[in-house]
């Protein structure tokens, strides 16, 4: 028993100066403002891009339905991205820390799986819509070109899309998956630590 008393005594020797409470509250406030700023900035950026594309429509008055469809699809891609971003980010950030640790870890694991699915699916949808939109948009202008130029323009665009689809997209997904899988593993391990002996 003596070792027990010693441990408690030793444990209590650790102390630190209590920081000013104001410091904590300021940090909380800054944290909230920073998150809000990021959300607002992303929204403004994508909305401005959409507005710019809308302006192109208004200014150049495209005649063909394909051009208009292309513009709509591109804008839609951005809006879908934005909606998911706005809905998901707060959900991923907010976590109920007041759950018991085993419940908390379970919830965290669920969230990470969801994040993984969304990252991959969202990226694919965004990509397909953007590529389809660009291809449609180009049609009107390409059709006015000579055949050789049309082939060249479309060839180049599709090459660029293909590089993105077959090289950058899998790379980006792989990187995100690796990061998130690592976390899923680690949180799973913590959860197992709690469960293995409590069955």
């Amino acid at each position: 028993m003596t070792i027990n008393i010693n441990l408690k005594e030793l444990w209590n020797e650790q102390s630190t100066v209590i920081p000013d409470q104001k410091e904590i509250l300021e940090k909380a406030d800054n944290f909230r403002k920073k998150n809000l700023r990021k959300l607002v900035l992303t929204n403004i950026l994508l909305l401005l891009t959409s507005a710019f594309i809308g302006f192109i429509w208004y200014y150049y008055q495209p005649e063909m339905i394909t051009t208009k469809l292309g513009i709509v699809i591109v804008i839609l891609a951005m809006i879908i991205f934005l909606c998911c971003y706005n809905l998901m980010i707060p959900e991923l950030k907010k976590s109920d820390y007041s759950l018991s640790s085993s419940e908390y870890l379970k919830k965290l694991l669920g969230l990470k799986e969801k994040q993984k699915f969304l990252q991959t699916t969202m990226l694919n949808i965004y990509f397909i819509m953007l590529s389809a939109g660009i291809a449609l948009y180009m049609y009107e202008y390409a059709s006015r070109m000579k055949m050789l130029w049309t082939i060249f323009t479309y060839g180049l665009t599709f090459l660029w899309i293909a590089i993105n689809w077959f090289y950058f997209r899998p790379k980006s997904i792989k990187k995100q998956d690796k990061a998130i899988n690592e976390l899923i593993d680690k949180f799973g391990n913590l959860s197992n630590q709690l469960y293995k002996e409590d069955q």
Partner: protein, 162 residues
């Protein structure tokens, strides 16, 4: 902000700061990281205080928040590699006990993550039933684990004394 909440946050802050700091310190054994963890815990306490419904004791509630912050540290460490952290200012070891205290915290921080939390709460003199509630384990399991962890620590201390 509601005045009642403000007053009770101050009380909570002064009552629990050291306790939460020690729990964090047992988990990471690094003064700066432990301070950061404690600050984050109290930010969460501040943000969620209005949601606290007395379903559990305020202590259980705060320790749950603190423990979960510790467990989530893995995610933050990934974003901030260890090399970027400011180095600890080494405190001078002026007596025998200071060395033993450091050894205790070091030994605890080397245990599996959940064991660190369990023993820290036990040393903080939290009731075993409450520890079970904080972690979501059965009381029997907590009792067995505390026993095993103490045995481990005792063994480590035997080697320290040699």
């Amino acid at each position: 902000m509601d005045n009642n909440i403000k007053i009770s946050f101050e009380e909570i802050y002064s009552t629990y700061w050291q306790k939460v700091f020690r729990l964090s310190m047992g988990y990471v054994n690094d003064i700066d990281k432990a301070k950061d963890l404690s600050q984050e815990t109290f930010i969460a306490v501040w943000q969620n205080l209005s949601k606290f419904r007395n379903e559990s004791s305020i202590g259980t509630w705060i320790f749950r928040i603190a423990s979960n912050h510790c467990l989530r540290l893995i995610e933050k460490e990934r974003k901030m590699p260890k090399g970027d952290m400011p180095e600890d200012l080494k405190e001078e070891i002026n007596n025998e006990n200071e060395g033993k205290k450091d050894f205790l915290y070091k030994s605890i921080s080397e245990l599996p993550e959940t064991d660190r939390i369990i023993i820290s709460l036990e040393l903080e003199e939290i009731k075993q039933s409450e520890i079970a509630e904080i972690l979501g384990l059965s009381e029997a399991n907590v009792r067995v684990r505390i026993h095993r962890i103490k045995e481990k620590l005792t063994k480590k201390f035997e080697s320290y004394d040699d």
